[in-house]
Symmetry: C2
Subunit: 864 residues, 2 copies
């Protein structure tokens, strides 16, 4: 029907068929439009049909064109697909010198009728007669000046009469014809004009942009005009069939008596809540309630409606599925199932998984005015508000007195205590994989990074943004879900446990086939993830354990060791600590698999920065110059450290000495880690628990790398665990790993796609250097619409994943395949992973519910 | 025949068939060996056959087993494929108490015969009787001590007799049997032992490693022993049929009278040149000459032979194709064609293209002792020798007094004048794409980079390596072809124009179908490349023009501009300079295509380093502290610059704001470059020349990037050149570009594979951080045998190239495809590019001849 009648026309017919009170009318088909273009004229018989339909409409409405109870109509375009605002519309058609008199009599509102007539002439002249809009505006403007009036609605009936006369003169002058009085003539001209508007410049451009064929043509919808402003028995309003902010099943809307749609929107008068309609017009209210029920039954969803009451008669002008908050979406979906309107599958498809974030994190109370001052990257969801401080120590101290936000250029492992003490973190550099972003996500703390508009001066303890300067201790707020930064303190809404949420997730688990694990490095994260439904850890990054303040010095000594024995000594110390970490994590994840990635980052990440050390050396040198202090030895030590750091310095650390490369050059490091894993597992087993470790070798690009690393790991395992069955696998995070996945699979029990790094290398994008920087330009230029770091780039990165999956399964049919990049928590990427046939996705704890729902949606869509 | 008789056996038969004087003998087939293992015993009939063959051998040699003119034989293994040293051999078989007497009589050399007998017993006992070698050595050692002798050859006949007796006692004691006297018995035991040696541990391991099937078995070669030490009418020697160092067709070898093979090798006596054999034994010499001719005719190549003369009778012991220098290889190949022994195609296949380097660059005179002190990366071929200096200014000044080598941690654009003044460049950091490497190759100057063993101290102007300390001004030498560094001054050989070289390249051009272009950024390079046969420029890097000392300040101002207008002003200045550059390059390449790559490197590469600036600021601060100098303003300026540099700082510049990304954010930069190209082309056209520019957009990963960039470039071109037909293309240097090459091809007239960056991203290897660092470990662990930056990694990077070529040709059949990475000069990679169907390869000027030959070889191999 849509193809023949256009979207608007068919929707109108649908509502009419349901017996809903919509303004009466009829539709001219798109075929008529196509014929019109073919023959360059009104197709044969169309005029007759138009007359017949019109006669029927007159009968139905008990109104007549040019009659005493005059029929006025709207003439609108309506293509198969909505093309909002692209084509033309004529309203109030049917007005002329005769009918306005009848209207005035009927409405007792001369001004209203004259204003409608004035608008009709102007609109018709512009759309149908192709006269310039501006010339009419000139006349209007002149009259306003003459009468010292500023607003259109303040013009008197007298003025309007004068204007109407001048409008008609203008039409006569320009067209050498009088303005058409006869409504039928008006109608035929209007229909032709709407047909022709299919080929106006706007519409052609829009079609090109949206790939809509030029051949479709438009339908024309002709509908009786209805008026809510015909007195105190008329009115207009908007109403949701359920509460869009919490989902409770109760009408939620407002109305105004004696008013038109514009009046509600303009906000000049205060509308009344919908329940009060019961007091004013109880029958209409009852009818409206029953209409809403019908609508919900038909559309099987909460509706957002517009209605008009013309002299106690209800007309539905529009209905559509209503927008809603995450909380409402969840409740409505569950209750529609309970009401047997939709199936569980349909219910799950109704919810945008990302909206679940609103149920998991603090969010900004929408009932307040916000002063947005900057936009950064949304690194970790949730909102936070507090006084800002620029260093970890002060932030920690001040946090005793109230909520604190830590604001820095970028964070480093030395800032951890400040991050723990803060409610949220804001940085002006770094991307979604920066230290701040990764740690904040792990902590479940709101975080905005890469907010380059903000300029911090550590020395003066001030922050400049958009010309205003803020001081340490001033209030600031961030929304990690959107990346927005606000001035001042704002009110937040706490997330609450919510039964409908649990129901949705239970249903998701019933349906989904894709497993959901979590990325967690600490027992706390692991526990949280289990709570949120994770069935294992897909990525446990061991190096984050190295960043602990007590361990970092040992790690540094290990790195700076100049001999194997020295390195071994420090590794032994670390082993004890790692073993304890693993024991705690295995315990939190008891019975579920825990994939532990061996050391991955470049070693220099664990050392102080060159700049910092240089600054310290220079400070010492100046001290020596000024006070002749004895700092020579101190300088020498620092200089030696500096030399080591320079040796380890890398131009492109992302592509340098990291991942499995470290274990190949220093096998003792991964041997230590393997030992810690094996012993932790043994200890727990002895306690009666069921630890299930899996060992993952990172950054493999060549099969031989995995073969060698695996040998080292297996040797340690078989020495410690006689019946060793710990799976050993690798990440697929380099293009070459994907391309040679068959060779690599021979040495792997499982693969886990590291789509963060895979995206970086496939595109040649360093997240740290692109996200906060030229990506905005790329969005602006429509080079992409969503960051490939948020949603898997299916045509590039996805292609590699597809190649890898194909190769891997060919080489080893039962190889386990997962994903542990951040894409593991993105619904579109989850759908893609499901279609690839992966076994599981792994994401940060707070993304687990999102992933569960998205996985279920993927399964449902696949069936369809 | 090889399968049945083994390699050695069939070769022996081949030489015999040619009528060459080889020691007479026969072969036991590999099939016999297989049967031996199957039946666990000597196969039926083999003993009889052995007897028959032996009888025939006795007839042929006129010697008899156990006779007065005793026949001695060697018994050797010989599998299908050479397995050098893996299986066993018995020499001098046939000696016993009786035959030694005859031998002594015949040779008049008792000591020699007794020593041979002693050796035979020891060898036979070890190989055949499985007795431990050490026990025999003990006996030998004791006798040497008793007689106060140090060398074996100084033992007297008396001592040898004593030893032989003790050896035999030992055998009897260990085996409970006397040492076998009967030669036939000796022979059967020896043949079984050689069979069995197929399954010794060494041989099994070797087969596993080299994937040789265990089922093949070995042949056994039994050959008459010949002796060159039977007096002054006997002798031995080695000889090349042509001179292996210059290829001149004249016997080149040496011989010793009354000597065995070992004596020539041992170097105790000075051998005589082969021509002198004519004086001593003219008939033998004539025979030898004719043998050499026959060998060359048969093997169609220069031969490296070993021969023995036993009592005026010539025996050929071995012949193989002789190793030779590049110069000799070229001459021999050409002359063999002239002699109608081989075809041009065969001639071209005979030459290792890389050996042509020896004809293009200075090389180390091999006739001198070298003191190698370190090994770095061979960044630019050729050798250089001179006094070393650690900074560009001193190097430039000192170069007036003699040859100079510039030695630095790494070079930067500010060192260019020092590099120009030096004969060679040595750095201790950086890889093959470091500034030093790239610039040196462009200049055709020897360069060794990433030589991490060398520690330079700029402050004391000293260099430490392997414990020795050198001072500025000391002599040092480098070989950029091998990456070796030598202490002191060394003698170099100049390359000379060489007619055979030109012939080879002419032939190459006749055959090859792959085009050869050059990577050149200067008119000088372009001219050199045309001289060496390049037919166009495949990569002209415009940014190297920016590094010029006069331009760098303008480039820096352009980068630091805070407004469009300011940036535009500096770009206008640069435009004039670039236009002139392009004019000169187009002129040098007149009529040939010149592919110009628009700006590629990250902008911060043009700014001073953060460290350097920090040092300067600190120097100023200390100056202020000490002297109260008025440097505040100077500090402020530097601090402002530092802030800009920090803003532009990137964590991974390889993957940051570079390539087409720059032109998308600052279109005015590529517009300026396009204008300079177009105007230069117009100016030359007006002078009657035929410039053929092609514009290349770097680092495209998304089709839309190219679409946008192309639009900007085309706009400028069509404004300037009404009938614009300048091709616009892109580099394929990111995995995503290869994977989506069909989409990208829609906007490209040509593709050029940037295999340097493609290798970096596919492997996740930053050249700067891996080559000089853990790559050595990777070679050691056999993770790869050749660096993927030297030869295209066919299974990973090559796979992407294949995907890209397939996609590109499907989308645009006639798209031009080339390669401009450094692999364009690597023979194996050229063969791969040929097989992919690329149109051309592009390489540095001095690689052009190598590429021409390699391209011809690829074509010839393909036909086969």
């Amino acid at each position: 029907m849509k193809n023949l009648l256009g979207g608007k026309g068919s929707n109108l017919c649908e509502m009419t068929k349901l017996g809903l009170p919509v303004p009466k009318g009829f539709v001219i088909s798109t075929q008529a439009c196509i014929n019109f273009f073919d023959s360059n004229d009104f197709p044969e018989g169309l005029e007759q049909e138009l007359n017949d339909s019109l006669m029927q409409l007159e009968k139905q409405t008990k109104k007549q064109f040019s009659g005493e109870n005059p029929l006025l109509v709207s003439v609108r375009s309506g293509a198969r697909t909505s093309m909002p605002g692209m084509m033309d519309t004529v309203l109030n058609l049917g007005l002329n010198e005769k009918t306005i008199k009848s209207m005035i009599e009927k409405t007792k509102n001369e001004r209203f009728v004259l204003d409608s007539y004035r608008r009709f002439i102007q609109m018709f002249s512009n759309v149908v007669l192709n006269l310039e809009h501006d010339k009419f505006e000139e006349i209007l403007e002149k009259e306003k000046q003459n009468t010292e009036t500023t607003k259109d609605c303040d013009l008197t009936a007298e003025s309007l009469k004068k204007i109407i006369k001048e409008y008609k003169n203008l039409v006569e002058q320009e067209t050498k014809n009088t303005f058409p009085e006869e409504p039928k003539q008006q109608l035929i001209l209007a229909v032709k004009a709407v047909f022709n508007s299919w080929n106006n410049k706007r519409a052609i451009t829009y079609r090109k942009l949206n790939k809509i064929p030029d051949s479709w043509g438009t339908g024309v919808v002709i509908q009786e005009m209805v008026f809510g402003n015909l007195g105190e028995t008329s009115g207009t309003g908007v109403c949701f069939t359920r509460n869009p902010s919490n989902g409770i099943k109760k009408l939620y809307g407002e109305f105004l008596l004696n008013a038109q749609g514009e009046d509600v929107v303009a906000g000049i008068r205060t509308p009344r809540i919908i329940a009060e309609l019961n007091e004013v017009m109880p029958e209409v209210f009852e009818e409206f309630k029953s209409v809403c029920e019908k609508l919900e039954k038909h559309y099987k969803d909460m509706q957002d409606t517009e209605f008009t009451i013309e002299d106690k008669k209800l007309f539905l002008l529009q209905t559509r599925n209503g927008k809603r908050t995450g909380q409402a979406a969840v409740r409505i979906a569950v209750e529609l199932v309970e009401e047997k309107l939709i199936s569980k599958q349909e219910a799950l498809l109704r919810i945008n998984p990302l909206d679940l974030n609103q149920l998991l994190h603090k969010r900004i109370d929408p009932k307040q005015k916000l002063n947005e001052i900057a936009l950064g990257l949304n690194a970790s969801p949730g909102a936070a508000s507090g006084r800002m401080f620029f260093d970890a120590n002060t932030a920690e101290k001040e946090s005793e007195k109230g909520n604190v936000i830590l604001v820095r250029h970028e964070t480093s492992p030395e800032d951890i205590h400040g991050m723990i003490a803060s409610k949220g973190i804001l940085t002006c550099r770094g991307g979604n994989t920066s230290h701040a972003a990764v740690v904040a996500r792990g902590m479940g703390k709101p975080c905005v990074v890469g907010c380059e508009e903000i300029k911090i001066d550590y020395s003066t303890k001030t922050l400049k943004v958009e010309g205003t300067e803020l001081n340490q201790g001033d209030f600031i707020s961030i929304d990690g879900t959107t990346g927005k930064v606000f001035l001042g303190e704002i009110k937040l809404i706490e997330p609450e446990p919510y039964k409908f949420f649990s129901t949705i997730l239970e249903w998701s688990d019933e349906i989904k086939t894709l497993g959901v694990r979590t990325n967690a490095d600490t027992p706390k994260d692991a526990k949280k993830a289990v709570e949120l439904g994770a069935k294992g850890i897909g990525l446990c990054r061991t190096e984050h354990m190295f960043f602990d303040a007590k361990r970092l010095p040992i790690v540094q000594k290990m790195i700076l060791s100049s001999s194997f024995d020295e390195r071994k000594k420090h590794l032994d110390e670390l082993e004890k600590m790692q073993r304890k970490d693993f024991e705690e994590i295995f315990e939190a994840m008891d019975g579920f698999p825990v994939t532990i990635r061996l050391i991955d980052p470049p070693l220099h990440e664990f050392l102080p920065s060159k700049e910092k050390l240089l600054r310290e050396i220079n400070r010492l040198k100046r001290k020596r110059d000024l006070n002749n202090s004895d700092v020579l030895e101190e300088i020498a030590v620092k200089k030696a450290l500096l030399i080591k750091i320079k040796e380890l310095h890398e131009v492109n650390p992302m592509l340098g000495f990291r991942g499995c490369r470290i274990g190949i050059v220093y096998p003792e490091i991964i041997e230590m880690q393997t030992r810690a894993i094996a012993e932790a597992a043994l200890n727990l087993k002895n306690k009666g628990l069921s630890p299930k470790p899996e060992i993952m070798i990172p950054l493999v690009g060549i099969a031989k790398e995995l073969e060698l690393s695996r040998k080292k790991v297996e040797k340690v395992l078989s020495d410690l665990i006689p019946e060793n069955n710990i799976p050993i696998g690798t990440m697929i995070e380099l293009p070459r790993a994907a391309l040679t996945a068959d060779e690599i699979a021979e040495h792997a029990d499982f693969f886990s796609f590291g789509t963060n790094d895979l995206t970086q290398t496939t595109f040649g994008f360093s997240r740290d250097d692109v996200e906060g920087k030229f990506f905005n330009k790329y969005f602006e230029e429509k080079i992409f619409s969503v960051s490939p770091f948020v949603s898997v780039d299916i045509s590039g990165v996805g292609k590699l994943m597809e190649i890898a999956v194909g190769h891997a399964k060919k080489a080893k049919e039962n190889i386990k395949l997962g994903i542990c990049g951040e894409h593991g928590g993105d619904p579109a990427s989850i759908e893609f992973c499901h279609s690839l046939g992966l076994s599981y996705v792994s994401c940060s704890p707070f993304r687990v519910p999102i992933a569960r729902l998205a996985a279920a949606q993927a399964k449902i869509k696949e069936k369809k």
